[in-house]
Symmetry: C5
Subunit: 258 residues, 5 copies
Amino acid sequence: MDLATLLGLTLALTMIGVSVVLSGGSPNAFYDSAAITTVCGGMLAALLICFPISTVARLPAVLYRLLFPQVTDTSSLVQRLVRLAEIARRDGLLALEHRAEEGEHPFVRLGVELAVDGTRPEMLEEVLRSEIDSMARRHREGKGMLDQLGRSAPAFGLIGTLLGLIVMLGNISDPSSIAGGMAVALITTLYGAVLSTASLLPMAEKLAFYSRQEMLTREIIVRGILAIQAGEHPRLIAQRLKVYLPPAARAQLERGTA
Amino acid sequence: MDLATLLGLTLALTMIGVSVVLSGGSPNAFYDSAAITTVCGGMLAALLICFPISTVARLPAVLYRLLFPQVTDTSSLVQRLVRLAEIARRDGLLALEHRAEEGEHPFVRLGVELAVDGTRPEMLEEVLRSEIDSMARRHREGKGMLDQLGRSAPAFGLIGTLLGLIVMLGNISDPSSIAGGMAVALITTLYGAVLSTASLLPMAEKLAFYSRQEMLTREIIVRGILAIQAGEHPRLIAQRLKVYLPPAARAQLERGTA
Amino acid sequence: MDLATLLGLTLALTMIGVSVVLSGGSPNAFYDSAAITTVCGGMLAALLICFPISTVARLPAVLYRLLFPQVTDTSSLVQRLVRLAEIARRDGLLALEHRAEEGEHPFVRLGVELAVDGTRPEMLEEVLRSEIDSMARRHREGKGMLDQLGRSAPAFGLIGTLLGLIVMLGNISDPSSIAGGMAVALITTLYGAVLSTASLLPMAEKLAFYSRQEMLTREIIVRGILAIQAGEHPRLIAQRLKVYLPPAARAQLERGTA
Amino acid sequence: MDLATLLGLTLALTMIGVSVVLSGGSPNAFYDSAAITTVCGGMLAALLICFPISTVARLPAVLYRLLFPQVTDTSSLVQRLVRLAEIARRDGLLALEHRAEEGEHPFVRLGVELAVDGTRPEMLEEVLRSEIDSMARRHREGKGMLDQLGRSAPAFGLIGTLLGLIVMLGNISDPSSIAGGMAVALITTLYGAVLSTASLLPMAEKLAFYSRQEMLTREIIVRGILAIQAGEHPRLIAQRLKVYLPPAARAQLERGTA
Amino acid sequence: MDLATLLGLTLALTMIGVSVVLSGGSPNAFYDSAAITTVCGGMLAALLICFPISTVARLPAVLYRLLFPQVTDTSSLVQRLVRLAEIARRDGLLALEHRAEEGEHPFVRLGVELAVDGTRPEMLEEVLRSEIDSMARRHREGKGMLDQLGRSAPAFGLIGTLLGLIVMLGNISDPSSIAGGMAVALITTLYGAVLSTASLLPMAEKLAFYSRQEMLTREIIVRGILAIQAGEHPRLIAQRLKVYLPPAARAQLERGTA
């Protein structure tokens, strides 16, 4: 579970509530059903025009992944790959078949399976890399949706405010109602700005962060599987994969494999 | 037919209507002929200055393609290419001549035709790739027009509002008419923002999506035709083209060609 | 003559006029000499600070080229190059000397001249490509000037409006003059927005379009001249140059050279 | 200690204070707790959604590094590397072990240690370069945090102003309080603009400047260590490393090594 | 002396003065010491936070270079290089030593000196290119400072206006003073917009123009010196360097060296 995201979202809401109370307003004044219709309806409409339905349907999964990301510990991953290399060197590639089943990263499983099946190295690399490419494309689409929502939120906020102003200026029989009308019109702009600045755009950044991390994980796996298939010495594989780890993890690994 | 685009456009209009009614306004207050003249006339004018007439004339075709896109199922395309490869291997390249006529993707037909005519592989690839390039250029121009319209819509909305404000402030004999004048002036900004945010810019994104998909389709075809011409084994061709498919489609294809 | 640009500029002006009349204003209210001084003077000043005088002096020529562009028909250009190749093959390179004089594209003339003079192929290509580079640099500067004007127009519009507002707010003895002062102040913003959105920025795009087209034309010529100098078979030259043409023109050329 | 940054921050605060006094206002009018809650709380919230907690926790360290940067004098670094090369040539690589301990740049120490341990040149370069890469990634994240804060500050400033306006317009029983309400609402926008323009965005630029400088330092070290390991002549190493120095430092070094 | 820049700056000031007079205002109304403090102080503060003091201290030199640029006539430079090549071919490289002293471009002098000293070609090129790189870095920093000033000017303009508005709204005992307060508040925005649009950003563009030109000059010199060192025939050197000249200068040079 990504605590930082949850903490950030909670903090943003709390901070707005506190700030409303501090300036002497009532939270009720900030609920407006027309504003919610305009901003959320408009954002969904623009999303549907931007992306095919099959992509839009993946949005809940994208948000779930954002709150419950799968983070792989790269230094224990390198250790597992080195252990697989040791088994392969001792007992042959076929011995990996059952070892890779037990709670392994699915990408390690796929690589081992292909290697065990005797896939040629070029084809093995091509298949694994095309998996990474298609994952990168899926991640880009996920981030693309959040970016698009983050861009359209303030625009629909502005549209809602314009709608409210035009309605207010059109039936202006009672001058005393102007201030109230203005307040309601501005709520839509507020919704759009809060959604975009305090959730959607930062969430797209966090998604890109996790995507970069998962790409690194898979790059390590591709290199590891290819080295195992080539029958390289486990120590050499450890040395080669270690350069992908942060300095601290590297030192720890050296103690582990020494 | 692209349901998502249609759904998105409908939803955008509905959401604006609902939001107007919720805030107590009348839809009639949002129709203004001067505003339509300014925004739509201005957008067309800027489009004509940006692009040559021959490109602008293709705009209706671009919009039609957006609503009724030609989507090729890549996994059945790979199956068809593998079948053509089997025929070519069994009966020779010439046997493909009549097979490729029946409801095939026009780009497959072109490739088969060139191969049957005995075009040298380099020339075959050059011709097919230059077709893809000219298609990409056409797609870029189509997206470029929607982008330009999406950029100029809010600008002409602002111009219309400035025009309205200057007229209103110029003949301000009657102070009670100010509010109404403001309302009318703001309608142009609303038109520009809605056109841009809720249709033109997202439509340009969807166009780019379809363009990327069609590029992938044609890349598969080029690789397939070249492999068929080189007389490669159908199974090898299947393996090579499979890496372009999404994981799910790949598994399905494996069952199909097994 | 580029009809689309002329049509676009006319349409933009007409549309603004119609829109003013529709909203009940008088066109006279939109003429203000201080606004013209601020926007046009400011744009010229910024242009002079951005570019050296020799570049700024080319602005009228750039605008003339925009309205009266030299468009080369690429398919007849390919036909002429193929004909030159036939002559060169039949009668030798020297026979091209007088043939290339008659109404040929100046870049074809330059290439033929260099080839007839016995320039070595590498040097011939280097000279022709450096000509293309210096043309590309000139085009970029032309587009750069229009882009700079298009960017500074709204900025000077805003500056003029600020000037007007400060003057108006400074001598506000008569409250009834406020509305008129506001109207005059806003005219500068309107000028800037119209100049930028409805002429300068789209004109920069059109310039880029013509530049891309002329680059393609010259690329075809370089390839053609080099192939002629190398003594390649005219049919092979035709095949090689054809891939630069749009599909329709290619089919037409095939009938022409068959 | 980076005097320029400190001077800049002090100057910005002083200038704002002077400007407030010059325009006849009281500094007290510019303190508002709701505004501070909104802008600072919002910025922290968006930062937490953007980055994982482990990155956000490094923010104080990033700010400390900005005020107290570690600047390496490249010309004395080149001299030290040349001296190490002389020792290695005279007494062998192993003689470097104790020499590199005394107050050396940690990256020089790491390189010497690896060279003394007999690491192969390719592996040595790979390890050093992966250190540089991971440092570059850390620097990019640091700059990324300041950029994100600099982008979100004005956005939360706007959000605070909208909150204030809506509260003010909602309970507008007393028209005389409008001006005061407006003043308070605008303070949030002021906070956001000052934080972004006068500290966060320029600080991100300064961070990028120091990062480029440290990259150059480490590039010199990698080249130097590799040349020392290869046993190159110290004079040749001096010549090769000198090209990374500014002209003035180069001349000075020539006198030093002559 | 760069007349265009001077002319542009004068024109911008004149145009603003004329426009103020045309709209019936007095130039005195546009002087405000608090506004100058805010905008200029703020810009300097942000500059100091962005760049180290040593870079900021070079700002006056950058502005001087902008008004009095060193422009090298590339066609006479090519002629001088060809003459040096003739001397080197006739009397040997050493004969160049005294010839290059007389009023030559300092970069030509550096190159000749290195060649006369017997520096190996690779090292000669590396030293000259690293000089070009460090010049490019200095130019980028100079342009970077003007860009940063041009970006921060309108931001501090806005900050000054917000300060003014808050002060004005805070002590609003006398409603008749509102207009005057607004006028003063807007002056800061005007200062920022004029500084940015009418001087700083265009000056950064001009700087980039001169930088590109000086890079081209030095590229010609590097190629020329290397060819002289390699003992190439002067006519060949002339042919090779000519391609860097504009077409007109090329024709003129041909007459000169014929």
